[in-house]
Amino acid sequence: MIDVDVLRERLVGRELPGGELRVEGFEAWLGHDAMRADDVRSDVLHPLWLFVGGLRGMGTTINGLIELMEATPEDGVMFGELSIEQSTSMKAGLDYQVRGSITDVARREGRRIGTFDVLTFELETLDATGGVVGTVTSSFVFPRRS
């Protein structure tokens, strides 16, 4: 099992590549249909798009984050917590920037899964003026079997 202090030294504070984000109108429609968001049927995006868009624009993938943690998808990586802060609604057809960083790596013990690590990362979505429209903090749980 990798030393968590090594992981912390290596990852905490690391900036993610980031990138551009644009949600087209048809993607918004399909996304809102999948979210069962019957009350959201305009160019205003559901707040969950801050999370979805953040993942799309962060410049890496979930698998990329899993590799950084020296784990594999087969290890049973799970969602831990999710926090969404929305300053302004995103809109379909507009350009945004995503920037993010890894904010924490911690090792814990659980009764059910034993030793596990928690990776926490934060993604900010910015509009064309550089204003932050929302911030998403996510944590993933990595079971560590010896």
């Binding site: 999948a34 069962r36 019957d38 969950l48 979805v52 999710l82 926090s83």
Partner: protein, 134 residues
């Protein structure tokens, strides 16, 4: 929005979880995890024979209840949740919430929120802040 007091419950929203929505969401989020679109992968992982819903979609159901209550996606200011369990295709889940604090000066309402299975088991639990209607 009617008068808001501490203890006010928001109208619950019930969702029948469908595989077709998981598949679209996998594409939109570039999520390669096959447990959301390939039953064989779920079986191989030992989770049974039904697709597992994305955690993000579960959160969306919860936010939908807030949007319906507050009247607009803009009104949702914060949502913080902990993931407590998986939701499978063909399950029925219900989102709900109860007001815990009213900040009249800032026009904000804080709530405890959750998403639960039919037997009442919570799969999401957390807090939210929404802007109250003027």
């Amino acid at each position: 929005m009617a008068r808001i007091d501490i203890g006010t419950s928001i109208p619950e929203r019930t969702v029948d979880v469908r595989a077709e929505h998981m598949k679209v969401f996998s594409l939109l989020t570039h999520d390669p995890n096959p447990i959301h679109w390939d039953v064989a992968a779920v079986e191989q992982a030992g989770f049974g024979d039904r697709l597992i819903n994305q955690g993000g979609l579960n959160v969306a159901y919860l936010i939908n209840a807030l949007i319906s209550w507050a009247g607009s996606p803009d009104a949702v200011r914060t949502v913080t949740v902990r993931f407590l369990g998986n939701v499978f295709a063909a399950e029925v889940v219900t989102a709900g919430g109860v007001v815990t604090h009213v900040d009249e000066e800032r026009g904000l309402v804080e709530l405890d929120v959750w998403l639960a299975r039919e037997d009442g088991t919570k799969v999401l639990s957390g807090t939210a802040t929404v802007a109250a209607a003027p």
